[in-house]
């Protein structure tokens, strides 16, 4: 009897299990139809491949209500309190829609391509053009209908260019430019020779020659070295591609061909770029070995403050660090903080970079001068393609790039704005950088993924070049133009290899 009962129970359970399978099998049918629909989707995707994406699909024009948008800002904006002001103002303006902007609380260099697809990325990102544009290939950021934004007309075309991309015959703008970053010359006015107005101002324009021309800077550096051992003129770590490549660009070099969009055309050795390398070599000969590695980059703040260096080249965002060191140096000489600050602000000058001799010979008397084309970048706001509230994000971007907010950003962070109205209102450095951009003397970092591959090969070459200035005459690797050209060609080859050798997977 008991055995029968077990058999019955076993039989019932088997039936149950099998019917469960049947149910599931039905479920499977359902999935099968899903599979069909997926097939239809695939078909749609295939037919849609050639079609341009319609932005009205993304931006319906109707603001999402009661949503929180996570904004990734740069650390300086957060630390200086600008970001808090921005989101407070935005949240107040959009309170009636229940839209709240918050700090995404992520590393400023976090990668949307890694985080976004899994729902962890920010909704709005503030990053440099080379970083933001890396996201375009995988369509990790949405294009923005910039023509409808208030700031559109105020931003020069060269800044928009950094965010322009043509896909399937349609031109898209992937972010809204906020500020321009490029190289500036920092020098100490109080270290100029006493007679500079008579001896070092050939054109009599009231600006010392050494900050107007690299040839005069070379002469002055030599003079300072001869005057006192351990004292230098212009100093800069040469390995840094961001700064050193500017000299190559000025003589016809470039990163990628076809306006920085064709990675198969490498241009570090293009034109007469070797002349730029020759200028760097001449400059290195008047520095110490610190120019080979990052020593000068690290100690430039203190060495400029203690008078060891006369000038250096770096980005405008570190002005406060130089100022702080100079104030401390003056205080060390017995001045009060107020006196020290006033004097430091007067003596520390940040200005546009000097011009180069067309011959690339820094010792030439009265050379023809050409502008130094500095490498630069445009930081801007982009919108994640994984956001659930694209309309609210667009509203945020428009708000953050408005005249008032950009003006406030300039006041608090000292940035060089991409907006012409703010730049002209602010004047000074902001206007100077804006003008350089307009005149084409700022070469924007390429906005394609392959830009990642340029740094190490170029950095290795610049290190080697700087080292050459300290090699014994018989051991020098770059003592004639052909060798310089060969070195630059090697850089192009290495970058090409890094991009293409394995890409045929």
């Amino acid at each position: 009897m008991r055995k029968k009962g077990y058999r019955l129970l076993a039989g019932l359970l088997c039936i149950g299990l099998l019917s469960g399978c049947g149910g599931n099998a039905g479920g499977n049918d359902g999935k099968g139809s899903g599979g069909n629909s997926a097939g239809t989707d695939t078909q749609n995707a295939q037919t849609g491949d050639g079609a341009a994406a319609d932005l009205s699909n993304i931006y319906t024009g109707e603001l999402e209500r009661n949503v929180t948008i996570r904004v990734l800002e740069n650390d300086t904006a957060i630390e200086q309190g600008y970001f808090q002001e921005l989101i407070d103002a935005f949240n107040e303006a959009y309170a009636e829609y229940g839209i709240v902007a918050v700090d995404a609380n992520m590393d400023q260099y976090s990668n949307l391509a890694d985080d976004g697809p899994y729902g962890y990325g920010p909704d709005v990102l503030y990053q440099a053009n080379d970083v933001l544009m890396k996201y375009v290939d995988g369509k990790h950021i949405y294009p923005i209908p910039v023509q409808n934004l208030e700031c559109y007309a105020q931003i020069p075309d060269r800044a928009w260019e950094a965010y322009r991309r043509e896909i399937d015959g349609t031109t898209y703008y992937m972010a809204v430019p906020v500020n321009v970053q490029t190289s500036m010359l920092y020098y100490r006015k109080d270290l100029l020779p006493e007679n500079w107005e008579t001896e070092w101002d050939d054109n009599g324009n009231g600006i010392p020659d050494m900050v107007e021309s690299w040839s005069a800077m070379y002469r002055f550096s030599k003079l300072r070295m001869e005057e006192k051992e351990g004292q230098y003129g212009y100093m800069r770590s040469m390995y840094d591609v961001y700064f050193s490549s500017s000299f190559l660009f000025s003589y016809g070099g470039y990163v990628f061909g076809n306006n920085n969009t064709d990675p198969s055309d490498l241009g570090f050795s293009a034109g007469d770029s070797w002349m730029g390398a020759s200028v760097l070599l001449q400059q290195a000969s008047l520095m110490n070995e610190g120019c080979i590695d990052d020593t000068i980059t690290v100690n430039a703040y203190s060495k400029l403050a203690d008078g060891t260096y006369f000038a250096t080249m770096t980005t405008p965002d570190v002005y406060t660090l130089f100022l702080k060191e100079l104030i401390l140096a003056y205080q060390g000489q017995g001045m009060s903080e107020e006196e020290a600050r006033a004097l430091a602000e007067e003596n520390l000058v940040m200005t546009k970079v000097p011009m180069l001799p067309a011959s690339a010979d820094l010792t030439e008397e009265n050379p023809e001068l050409i502008p130094l084309k500095t490498m630069g970048g445009v930081n801007g706001y982009g919108i994640s393609a994984y956001t659930k509230a694209p309309n609210a994000c667009l509203a945020f971007v428009e708000f953050a790039t408005s005249y008032d907010m950009i003006m406030r950003r300039c006041e608090l962070l000292g940035i060089a704005p991409a907006r012409s109205d703010v730049a002209s209102q602010r004047g000074g450095t902001s206007e100077m950088i804006y003008q350089s951009l307009e005149e084409g003397n700022v070469v924007l970092m390429p906005s394609i993924t392959e830009v990642d591959q340029i740094w190490t090969p170029a950095q290795s070459f610049f290190s080697d070049l700087a080292k050459d200035a300290f090699r014994e005459p018989g051991e020098r690797k770059y003592d004639d133009p052909d060798k310089l050209k060969a070195g630059l060609t090697q850089v192009d080859t290495q970058i090409y290899d890094a991009i293409f050798t394995l890409s045929g997977n």
């Binding site: 008991r2 479920g27 995707a45 290795s460 080292k467 997977n505």
Partner: protein, 442 residues
């Protein structure tokens, strides 16, 4: 071999001589147990089967199909097409294969269990109750209970990533082919590429030979320096041993990358060492610059010793306290000098216990990523393909896979490194006294 043959015979016995209840279990997991009246166990097997069926119908079969195709629909966020994520599909596919293997193991255990119960019944015994079976897991089969969670952890956190990495080596993942683009299987073409690409092979051989020299030298240096320090601080004549031992421990306690960055600064042109050199009127030395091949390698060895010697010293200190003092005394009476005592008593004694540690040190040094990444990263040298003359295989792998996004090539090189280190470690270990005289207590 014999054991394996017996096991195969056992399985065939089950299938050939299994009674109707065993066959019932073969048809449906747990059915045989239910027919024997083992309700709890039968239900448990059925539950496992139901769970597996549910999982496979819900997603398992699709995951296995995904593992084969690695996706058919490319995502397009602008058009609102979600698409397939090949990398996730690969991962989930591997998980589903693991689930299928687990199900097969459960199935075989269910048949085996039914067969064992049949044999008990044939001998006139009674099938074990569920409670009796459970008790076994606290008694005879306690090792299974204890090992269950660790094995699960090892499967999820060790084996799965390793299988994933191996699988990546057979795909074209990397470069421009990263999600949302669809990844595809490419067979062994990455291995072929590694062996045949004209730029690749010379660099691979150069880096491999330096890597082997590095691993041997750094392991030997760390080991003997650690042992020497331990012996020195073990001497009765040394005063304040605890204090002296604390210094290396302090070096050990500082995070490795901070130590490395500190050393990088010390050896830089602006660092204190060059300050002293230039202060003495000499020319600054480029310890780590582009021309500093062998100097940089030597500095790498010494800095690595600074980081690793303390751990060996601590280990050796513990082992030396177990040395047989009478043996040393006898050797001394027999006229053995200090070196002979070390060579014939201390070294074999320490080596016997520390061979596995030595092997792990060797593998650790072979794959020591941090040393040259922090000391001399960011350089490509002429004659090397996207590498410098101090880079180890692991650094080159990083350059290729992370810097240049060639994940599949990176995984391929990882596999090659894995094979090399495994072969070296296994041959050293199987030839060592630790393995050959495993049961000997010293």
């Amino acid at each position: 071999m014999k054991k394996k043959k017996m096991r195969t015979e056992g399985v065939s016995q089950m299938f050939l001589h299994g009674g109707k209840n065993v066959r019932a279990s073969m048809c449906l997991m747990g059915l045989g147990q239910l027919l024997y009246g083992q309700i709890g166990k039968g239900l448990l097997y059925l539950f496992v089967l139901a769970l597996a069926v549910f999982y496979f119908v819900q997603r398992g079969f699709a995951d296995i199909a995904g593992l084969i195709t690695l996706g058919t629909k490319e995502a397009d966020t602008w058009l609102g097409i979600e698409g397939d994520n090949s990398v996730i599909m690969l991962l989930m596919g591997i998980l589903s294969v693991i689930a299928a293997i687990c199900l097969l193991v459960c199935y075989l255990s269910n048949v085996k269990d039914a067969y064992e119960t049949q044999k008990i019944c044939e001998r006139g015994g009674k099938p074990a109750s569920f409670r009796e079976d459970l008790k076994q897991f606290l008694d005879k089969k306690f090792y299974k209970t204890v090992l269950f969670l660790p094995i699960l952890g090892v499967c999820v956190f060790n084996i799965l990533p390793i299988i994933f990495m191996i699988a990546i080596a057979f795909t074209n993942y990397g470069g421009t082919i990263v999600p949302p683009k669809l990844v595809d299987w490419v067979g062994g073409s990455n291995f072929v590429k590694l062996a045949t690409l004209s730029q690749f092979s010379p660099t691979f051989l150069k880096i491999l030979s330096w890597n082997i020299i590095w691993a041997v030298l750094s392991t030997a240096l760390n080991y003997f320096a650690g042992l020497g320090l331990a012996l020195l601080l073990n001497k009765d004549c040394v005063k304040g041993k605890a204090l002296w031992r604390a210094f290396p421990v302090l070096a050990y306690a500082v995070p490795g990358f901070i130590t490395l960055l500190g050393f990088k600064f010390m050896f830089s042109y602006g660092g204190p060492i060059n300050q002293i050199i230039t202060g003495m009127g000499q020319k600054a030395v480029g310890f780590l610059d582009i021309d500093a091949k062998w100097i940089a390698r030597l500095i790498g060895l010494l800095v690595n010793a600074w980081i690793s010697v303390p751990s060996i010293m601590l280990l050796a200190t513990g082992l030396l306290s177990n040395r047989d003092a009478s043996q040393m005394e006898s050797a001394k009476i027999d006229g053995a000098n200090a070196f002979q005592q070390f060579r014939h008593i201390t070294l074999p004694f320490v080596l016997f216990s520390t061979t596995p540690v030595l092997i792990s040190q060797f593998i650790g040094n072979f794959n020591n990523f941090g040393i040259f990444f922090f000391l001399r990263g960011g350089l490509y040298i002429d004659g090397y393909f996207l590498a410098s003359d101090t880079d180890l295989l692991i650094n080159w792998l990083y350059n290729l896979s992370i810097n240049n996004n060639y994940y599949s090539i990176g995984a391929t090189i990882s596999l090659v490194i894995f094979v090399i280190t495994s072969l070296i470690s296994l041959s050293i270990y199987t030839g060592s006294a630790s393995y050959r005289e495993e049961d000997t207590f010293r």
